[in-house]
């Protein structure tokens, strides 16, 4: 599998705090890559650097061999790099279908298209996606009044609707009921296999990440601590010491 995102030698510090120091890693196209590490080890910082929320101090970030470390958030998003937020972000005043329809891939629209109406096809796809994440019943409900977990699912459906190339998920299961987590993982895996969406996931929940990822990177104190397959990581003494703790 070829690398779709290549991070090489990226450093980022805030004032005195070195959040990322000389990080290098790759995300394989079509795979599921995991990112773990203690609190404050710089995971979210790395995500933000990739999708353009702040400038990096050194290094380079490439998407399909294109340098993106100086581009702005919307420009990067238009390349098909999509992220979800730790705190869910949906358009709360609209119902689920409207939320879905806004999420059609605008980057593929010309200005003239924007002045058109949504096609029957768009509607159908929206409903299909809602069904896929199990929100079909709630499609006309104001999305703001969905429960926390359902909002996460909706956000996930919106991301799929957007037909991203890469989906970056920041702690997708935090605060979600364990049973629901299982459903979420199932759908993520199906999105990966059925739609061919590359996934890049930050998680603290080992049950999730160990069962999903092909490859896991572990950060500590802003530095790359270890990388490898889930079983390798799980038994890596450095990871156990720095992060997992004794079992």
């Amino acid at each position: 599998m070829s690398a779709i995102i290549e991070v090489s030698g990226v450093s980022k510090s805030f004032g005195g705090v070195k959040a990322n120091a000389d990080i290098s890693m790759t995300v394989a196209e079509g795979g599921i890559t995991g990112l773990i590490g203690p609190n404050g080890s710089g995971k979210t910082t790395l995500f933000n650097s990739i999708v353009g929320y702040h400038p990096i101090d050194a290094g380079s970030i490439r998407f399909r061999s294109q340098e993106i470390s100086r581009m702005l958030v919307p420009e990067i998003a238009r390349l098909g790099l999509l992220r979800t937020f730790q705190q869910t972000r949906i358009y709360g005043a609209m119902n689920c279908v409207e939320n879905m329809l806004i999420s059609i891939p605008h980057r593929k629209l010309s200005l003239m298209d924007a002045f058109g109406r949504n096609t029957a096809e768009d509607h159908e796809r929206a409903l299909h996606m809602l069904e896929f994440v199990g929100l079909y019943e709630k499609r006309f409900l104001q999305s703001g009044s969905l429960s926390f977990g359902q909002q996460k699912l909706l956000e996930f459906a919106m991301a799929l609707m957007n037909e991203p190339t890469v989906l970056l998920l920041d702690e997708p299961t935090a605060g979600i009921n364990p049973t629901l987590i299982n459903g979420l993982i199932d759908r993520l895996q199906r999105a990966n296999s059925e739609f061919g969406i590359t996934l890049f996931i930050i998680e603290h929940n080992m049950r999730v990440i160990m069962n999903m990822a092909d490859k896991i990177y572990c950060l500590a104190h802003g530095q790359m601590l270890a990388e490898g397959r889930p079983d390798e990581i799980q038994d890596d003494q450095r990871v156990i010491d720095a992060y997992l703790g004794a079992h």
Partner: protein, 314 residues
């Protein structure tokens, strides 16, 4: 164009003028800063953007003016106008504090923690009402009070420093200092700072945020009132002048950035001086335009800086 060149020429021909301009700028700027300081407070703590800020200032001026004009205290205490004028600052502080409290209870409490426009428009309505009520009460003439003090002259009389203005500026500085100390050391000040950062967490710790809000708003009104009382003894007031102080206050707070109280003072003095320079060079008719253009330039600068940080200004 010729005018502008010759005005610029004056600055070099008589370098001492620069000092004079800066002095004037600092004097008026210190009062802008005071009004802006209050705005920064309510904006930061309660997220209320108070468009009636300038009208509180003017109302404070009228309180002091009225106190002197009724001659009531003079005859009661047997003191001179001069003394009553100074007392007026205190009275305006107290009276406007009370008025601010009433405004809070009637209006602001209902718009707090709502979206931006709610507070902006509610206070705009308040501003209209206040200006008009002052007009009906006191008439639309410009009013002022005069302290019977001398003027100091320097540099062949080119620089004049009315002691009255000096007193006004010192009072403004004293007031600002008192407020800063109050915020740093008193319990109420601490509660205000905590509420500003996270009101829900403050409530969890047993802080009565409603009381904090009411207090903050009336403190703001009181500061404005005192500023107005100082203004009426060195400049003039008129019922409809509020908007100029509101605009200045917003310009200053926006330029300084929220939560940056020393920055507010610096920006206030800076804008005062910049306005004086601008009106010296381009003409006094451009004074307000200069203030707002300055704001735009600052915003654009911040914007470019944010863009380099791949972020937006919000």
């Amino acid at each position: 164009m010729d005018q502008i060149m010759s005005n610029l020429g004056l600055l070099f021909e008589f370098p001492i003028v620069n000092l004079k301009i800066i002095l004037d700028g600092v004097m008026i700027g210190s009062l802008f800063a005071l009004a802006a300081y209050g705005l920064a407070l309510v904006w930061g703590v309660m997220n209320v953007k108070n468009l009636a800020q300038g009208d509180f200032v003017i109302a404070g001026g009228y309180v002091s003016w009225f106190l002197v004009k009724t001659e009531w205290l003079q005859s009661l205490l047997g003191v001179s106008d001069n003394f009553v004028i100074l007392l007026g600052v205190l009275v305006a502080f107290v009276v406007m504090g009370a008025i601010g409290w009433v405004c809070y209870k009637l209006i602001i409490t209902k718009v707090i923690e709502r979206d931006l426009f709610t507070s902006l428009l509610a206070t705009f309505g308040l501003a209209i009402m206040m200006a008009q009520i002052m007009n009906l009460l006191f008439g639309s003439d410009t009013q002022s009070l005069k302290l019977e003090y001398d003027t100091l002259y320097f540099a062949d009389g080119l620089i004049d420093l009315p002691i009255a203005k000096l007193i006004g500026v010192c009072m403004a500085a004293g007031l600002a200092l008192a407020v800063v100390l109050f915020m740093k050391t008193s319990r109420m000040g601490q509660a205000i700072r905590a509420t500003a950062q996270d009101s829900r967490a403050a409530r969890v710790l047993g802080i009565d945020t409603e009381k904090v809000y009411a207090f903050t708003f009336s403190l703001n009104a009181a500061i404005c009132g005192a500023a107005g009382a100082i203004i009426v003894m060195v400049w003039v007031i008129q019922p409809f002048y509020g908007i100029t102080y509101s605009v200045r206050a917003f310009v200053i707070v926006t330029a300084a950035g929220l939560g940056n109280l020393p920055g507010v003072i610096a920006a206030g003095l800076g804008i005062g001086a910049a306005e004086q320079y601008g009106s010296h060079i381009f003409g006094i008719g451009y004074q307000q335009a200069i203030a707002v253009l300055l704001l735009l330039i600052i915003l654009i600068y911040k914007l470019l800086r944010q863009r380099r940080l791949r972020q937006v200004l919000q």
